[in-house]
């Protein structure tokens, strides 16, 4: 048992033999309360003020109409009804968000798994690669997106290279509804896969050599070893990576906001962008909160399903 630092006890009294009995134990528990509270207070206070309160407030606001200059009026489920039945623009953003998630999450996982498999076996300078591939994750998203925008626009870097190679202009990647979302996905991939790569390559390194050696003696080739031994042993990390990537990709905002500003003709407007527009550009605070609540419910359901499915493929032993 660890020794708790108990306020209010001098060293001498701490050394006194404790009288046996339940009363003494109860007092000790009560005595630790303020100390525990003091240690917890900074982070708990921060959580209460900056996380818990806004979440509760935003759920409450979602049931009101709240113009910026004025008082909120309670309207019940009106905002949700309008969003789901009378707002084609919102439904389009749900579709866009789903397209982004469906394209981005599997590609992100496949890419980070593949690169992890490539750099984890004793490749010369594996650490250098790891650092290089992790750099986009820690550089500010807005700056990354701005640089990608300069590369992708007509007369940008890619267009100029394209012209010198093929003699014609490159497609207008950001200005065409066919390619704008694709550009957003590719930029996000470049930005985001380094995080999962780091997790997966650590997991790969944790796979015991002895298991791989036994498998090799049994005649398993490198591919078989990867899929039958390494992947199952990595599955908890893959589950973690997949869940986190799924949650963050539903909340995608900065990339389309900077790259395309949601255009052309709302082909890259995501749910969080719509929330931002409604809340901070059109000042429908209640309506924006309702979008936030719907997004929360969506993420909750999908994460729940992923957790249910983990029993089938995640091995914790």
């Amino acid at each position: 048992m660890s020794v708790a630092i108990r306020p209010g006890t001098s060293e001498a009294s701490a050394l006194d033999p404790a009288p046996p009995g339940p009363a003494r134990r109860r007092r000790r528990r009560r005595g630790d309360g303020p100390a525990a509270a003091a240690f917890l207070a900074p982070s708990l206070g921060g959580f209460a003020v900056f996380t818990a309160f806004p979440i509760v407030a935003s759920i409450l606001v979602a049931f009101t109409v709240w113009p910026l200059a004025g008082t909120p009026t309670f309207t019940g489920l009106d905002n949700f009804r309008r969003l789901l039945t009378q707002d084609p623009a919102f439904l389009k953003t749900v579709l866009n968000t789903l397209i982004f998630v469906v394209a981005y999450v599997p590609l992100n996982l496949a890419l980070s798994l593949a690169i992890a498999a490539w750099i984890t076996p004793r490749v010369k300078g594996a650490n250098v690669y790891r650092v290089l591939l992790f750099i986009p994750v820690v550089t500010p998203m807005v700056a990354n997106a701005a640089v990608w925008q300069i590369m992708l626009i007509p007369n940008g870097l890619i267009d100029n290279v394209w012209q010198s190679l093929f003699g014609v202009s490159a497609p207008n990647f950001l200005g065409s509804t066919q390619t704008a979302m694709l550009s957003v996905v590719i930029m996000s991939l470049w930005q985001g896969f380094g995080y999962n790569l780091l997790i997966f390559s650590s997991a790969l390194q944790a796979v015991p050599e002895s298991l791989l050696d036994s498998a090799a003696i049994d005649g398993a080739g490198p591919i078989r070893r990867y899929f039958s031994i390494k992947l199952p042993l990595m599955s908890p990390s893959i589950f973690f990576g997949a869940t986190m990537t799924l949650i963050t990709s539903f909340q995608v905002f900065a990339q389309p906001f900077i790259l395309t500003n949601g255009g052309p003709s709302s082909s890259t407007t995501t749910m969080v962008m719509y929330l931002y527009r409604q809340g901070f550009q059109y000042f429908n605070l209640g309506y924006a909160s309702a979008v936030g609540v719907l997004l929360f419910i969506m993420i909750l359901i999908i994460t729940g399903l992923v957790f249910l499915a983990q029993k089938r493929w995640v091995h914790y032993d």
Binding site: P42, V49, I153, N155, G262
Partner: protein, 412 residues
């Protein structure tokens, strides 16, 4: 005994984040030297513009050493999303910039400058151009005092015209002449014109191409009129069929393209003379907007400054406002090329410092100019327009169905 202190520490730690939340009011107060601080919020798109506003803020302190004006700037699009948030919260500036197209939208947040206020501040509205004074009124109440006005015109790259063997365009030129020149100027990866996805384009070209603007004189949205459809079709054609302007990819940067020498012409107002003078590495000329079926005509915009409702020190704000919109400040802004002064007596300052021929162009443009028309939800309409216009201008999608869509989604 000590246990009590631990409890106190816990309470204090819990209170810390709360303290961080309570923001001090921005409405004014005093600074370290005991001067009254007046917060002033305005848009600025370049260092040169910020420096000009800073100079005007210092001018107030010079005139009245007891007042210090604290300047806050934001880029044009950000300013309009930041301002409402500030006005609703506790950080409202005392004096804020207000563009005529957004007066209806923000009228409730600004104090009415009645005759007694103007009397105390020694501001005589008769010293200003009457059209812009009227444009900054809401329901007949003066909400802001103008500092500038200006019709749209074409800024062009004189060097590019010479290099293409073209004569300088003359005031009163037609859209056909404009197109011919733009085609000749489009060569070697450079374009004759820089297009924009902002709704302003419809008000710039609408009066002469289709005979109307994106809003009616009564403040109703007018995007579905035959005139607006015609204007947008013609404008999109510059990119998609005539190919005299680069395809758009994201929010347009027509000014940047022009100043960077990648487009030989673009449309803006006299307020951008400061950027043309400080940033262009070539000779800049100005000429009236090309005349379509309706002759030389375009929208005339303008802006001013008002006192916000949340301002806690009205007398200090009134004093500051009278200096900020006073003859000396507007004369300075005119000399810098930041504004064509709204005070008629100071207008010559802009002429003196602008590029050659600016005076005749501005006068010709003003002659048949019409007030810039807008609706009470202009910011929102502008946002949905700018997002969808890119594809239409690039040639994927019809102008008519797009304009119908923007109008119906705006709920007007």
């Amino acid at each position: 005994m000590k246990r009590k202190y631990v409890g106190l520490v816990a309470v204090a730690a819990l209170a810390l984040p709360l303290a961080a939340c309570s923001s001090s009011s921005n409405a004014g107060g005093t600074d370290s030297s005991g001067n009254t601080v007046v917060n002033w919020s305005v848009w600025a798109g370049s260092e040169a513009e910020t420096a000009a506003w800073k100079h005007v803020a210092d001018l107030v302190h010079e005139k009245d050493p007891k007042i210090t004006v604290k300047l806050q700037t934001a880029a044009w699009p950000d300013y309009w999303t930041k301002l409402p948030t500030q006005l609703a919260g506790s950080g409202a500036p005392c004096i804020a910039g207000l563009q005529m197209a957004r007066v209806q939208q923000f009228a409730n947040y600004f104090k009415t400058l009645d005759s007694s206020t103007l009397g105390t501040a020694k501001i005589a509205t008769s010293d200003f151009d009457p059209s812009i004074i009227k444009a900054l009124q809401s329901k007949g109440e003066q909400k802001a005092i103008p500092y500038d006005l200006g019709p749209y015109m074409v800024f062009y790259n004189k060097d590019a015209f010479k290099a293409a063997g073209l004569a300088a365009p003359q005031n009163g030129w037609t859209v056909d002449e404009f197109l011919t020149d733009a085609k000749k100027l489009t060569t070697g990866g450079k374009y004759g014109f820089a297009a924009s996805n902002q709704i302003d384009a419809l008000n710039q070209w609408g009066p002469t191409i289709g005979g109307d603007q994106a809003a009616t004189a009564g403040g109703k949205l007018n995007l579905t009129s035959a005139g607006q459809v015609k204007t947008m079709k013609w404008y999109a054609g510059l990119v998609s069929t005539e190919k005299v302007a680069a395809p758009l990819a994201t929010d347009s940067s027509d000014g940047t393209q022009f100043l960077g020498g990648n487009a030989a012409m673009y449309v803006t107002g006299p307020w951008d003379m400061i950027n043309a003078k400080t940033q262009a590495k070539f000779d800049v000329g100005v000429v009236t907007l090309p005349a379509g079926d309706n002759g030389v005509t375009t929208a005339v915009g303008g802006s001013g400054f008002g006192i916000t409702n949340k301002c806690s020190n009205i007398p200090a704000a009134e004093k500051a406002l009278s200096v900020i919109t006073g003859p000396e400040a507007l004369g300075y802004l005119g000399e810098q090329g930041r504004a064509f002064p709204a005070r008629t007596a100071e207008q010559s300052t802009w002429y003196k410092s602008a590029v050659d021929g600016a005076q005749s162009t501005l006068e010709a443009a003003l002659k048949n100019g019409v007030p810039y028309r807008s609706t009470p939800t202009w910011t929102q309409v502008g946002l949905s327009y700018s997002q969808g216009a890119i594809s239409v201008i690039n040639g994927d999608g019809s102008a008519k169905s797009f304009l119908d869509g923007v109008e119906s989604s705006s709920g007007q």
